[in-house]
């Protein structure tokens, strides 16, 4: 999953800055896609690959900070660049989860370091998101009875208690439990609890 080629997006309304960024990324052999406005970036159908966004603060139309708000914190890590940044602006950007806030002119290494960090963060985010999707698929495959058993197991009940609760035998519960562990591909009870937490599985109501 981590073998995918990362891609750097950049939004800057200044034509020569666009050119300079694309030249820099090209010189280190990095895949890039450059936009001249926030709207253009939003309309673009992003490929499924680890990515980050290099974003100019001052943009015509939707500003960089507004785009950040629109995208939310986990969607894509953002590195801000600006021609004239002030402290409140950078604080706002960092608080909203930006990876870095660079003032032009900046050295390439500062930008590339930030990009590395952003890509790492996006990979982790993506991995988490992918896992969640995977877990959901597995969970969907459970029978209704197995889901009931799973909820009670992760709530910490013993097989005997579960059997009483569901009005069945301990043996049947054991079979369902085995089925749950197998279908969810959980290696241990702890693993199963972690998945249940992420999926938001809770104890069914009495």
């Amino acid at each position: 999953m981590n073998s995918e080629e990362p891609i750097v997006f950049a939004v800057d309304d200044d034509a020569s800055m666009q050119e300079a960024l694309s030249r820099l990324f090209r010189s280190i052999g990095m895949q890039t896609r450059i936009f001249s406005s926030a709207e253009e970036f939003l309309a673009f159908d992003r490929p499924n690959a680890p990515a980050c966004l290099v974003l100019d603060v001052r943009l015509p139309g939707l500003s960089g900070l507004e785009l950040q708000r629109e995208l939310g914190e986990v969607d894509i890590p953002i590195i801000f660049i600006t021609g004239h940044g002030d402290i409140p602006m950078s604080v706002q950007a960092m608080k909203a989860g930006a990876v870095e806030f660079l003032t032009k002119p900046f050295r390439d290494q500062a930008l590339l370091d930030a990009i590395q960090q952003a890509i790492r963060r996006d990979r982790a985010n993506r991995k988490q998101r992918a896992e969640l999707v995977e877990h959901r698929v597995r969970y969907e495959a459970l029978t209704p009875r197995e889901r009931e058993v799973m909820a009670l197991v992760v709530a910490g009940l013993l097989n005997k208690q579960i059997a009483v609760k569901l009005g069945t035998t301990e043996f049947t519960v054991k079979i369902h439990r085995k089925g749950v562990m197998h279908k969810m591909q959980a290696s241990s009870l702890a693993d199963l609890v972690r998945m249940a937490e992420k999926l938001g599985v809770s104890t069914p109501k009495e």
Partner: protein, 396 residues
């Protein structure tokens, strides 16, 4: 002494006068004997005196006493009361005349009293009104003082606002220029970094490096264009230059600062040469220089108390020489240490100054082809002088 007390005493003394004067009349008449033909003369005197002094009723008393005394001492039968028929007419005439005199005098006295009362009342009411007026006047003075303080505060606030506005505008201008220049600089640095990478690559990509350098050159010219544009923007002000009579501008500025001069009790000595040739200047900038120099002069005299505070503004011009403008003050003067740094940016001797006034003033005057300098006076204070070339547009 209370009022009724005084009245009573007056009344008593009036009746006393009646008794005494009639007594005296008896004595005088007896002493004079046959020397006077008419025995009634002294008694008339007595009635007149009493009624003049005491009014109607003491007069009547004196008349009655006189009649009795006359009857007793001078009308037969002597030394006994009782009037014979031959003297009755005389007696009645005397009594009637005496009563009449009393009434006349009493009436006059009453009239006099009422006039004096009216006068007293008038005086009292005038006094009262005067006191009222004084009070109102005091209040007015107080309000005037308050108003003056408020005006002064307003003026100070206005000056402060103007100063802040200037700084803010400068700050904004600087920010926008910084952004305009940072944009191409950002591209240059990034492209330069990329270029280095192309050159360091194995094998180096000369073609890409060349393209990068070309982009750098293009962006650098763009940055330099920003500078040129900014300079043009600032130079646009120079097109506002017009033919101006310097004396008019000086009078204008003095008018504005009139309040400030009065408030600091500064006398102004304005000696403007008649018929000065026009100068080609930016009127607003010239006003700025004059306001600055005059305000400096005022500031320099603020603490002076042992001598006359005098502001001098003089113009002179001879032949085709530049016009010379001098602004003199009798203030604290400039010590030699300050003198050498006077025109340095951000150098100030004022607690609230920013140290730009003289720096800006000098650059304005120099931009108009003139000079601005300071001199120490022979007496107290200092003089700031500047020149402006006359007639045609002068390029700095």
């Amino acid at each position: 002494m209370s009022k009724p007390d005084r009245k009573l005493r007056q009344l008593l003394s009036s009746y006393l006068v009646a008794g005494l004067s009639v007594g005296l009349a008896v004595v005088f008449t007896l002493l004079s004997g046959s020397a006077i033909k008419d025995a009634t003369a002294f008694f008339f005197c007595s009635v007149m005196l009493t009624s003049w002094y005491g009014g109607l009723w003491p007069g009547v008393l004196a008349a009655v006493l006189s009649a009795l005394a006359l009857d007793y001492y001078f009308i037969p039968p002597l030394y006994a009361l009782g009037v014979g028929p031959e003297d009755a007419a005389d007696m009645i005439v005397f009594v009637a005349t005496a009563f009449f005199i009393s009434w006349l005098n009493g009436d006059q006295k009453r009239a006099k009293a009422s006039i004096s009362k009216a006068r007293d009342e008038l005086e009292a009411s005038v006094k009262e009104r005067t006191a009222d007026l004084k009070k109102v006047n005091q209040q007015l003075q107080l309000e005037i003082a308050e108003r003056k303080t408020a005006e002064q505060r307003f003026l100070e606030a206005q000056t402060e606002i103007a100063r802040i506005a200037r700084i803010t505008t400068m700050g904004e201008l600087a920010a926008s220029i910084a952004h305009e220049i940072n944009q191409p600089l950002g591209s240059i640095v990034t492209t330069g970094d990329a270029c280095l990478r192309w050159l360091k690559a194995q094998p180096p990509d000369i073609n890409e490096a060349q393209l990068a350098v070309e982009a750098i050159i293009r962006d650098a010219s763009r940055a330099s264009n920003v500078v040129v544009r900014t300079r043009k923007l600032l130079r646009r002000g120079e097109r506002l230059r017009e033919s101006v009579n310097i004396n008019e501008v000086i009078n204008e500025v003095l008018n504005w600062l009139e309040v400030e001069l009065q408030r600091n009790e500064i006398r102004s000595r304005i000696e403007l040469q008649e018929e000065v040739p026009p100068v080609i200047v930016d009127r607003v900038l010239l006003q700025q220089v004059l306001v600055n120099l005059i305000m400096n002069a005022i500031d320099a005299m603020r603490t002076v108390s042992d001598r006359m505070k005098e502001l001098g503004v003089l113009t002179e011009q001879h032949d085709s020489n530049p016009i010379l403008v001098r602004v003199l003050d009798s203030g604290v003067g400039i010590d030699s240490d300050d003198m050498s740094r006077l025109f340095e940016a951000f150098y100030t001797t004022k607690p609230k100054g920013i140290g730009m006034g003289l720096t800006i003033s000098r650059s304005i005057i120099e931009a108009h082809g003139g000079r601005l300098w300071a001199e120490r006076n022979d007496g107290p204070g200092s003089t700031f002088c500047f020149t402006l070339p006359i007639g045609k547009e002068s390029e700095a």
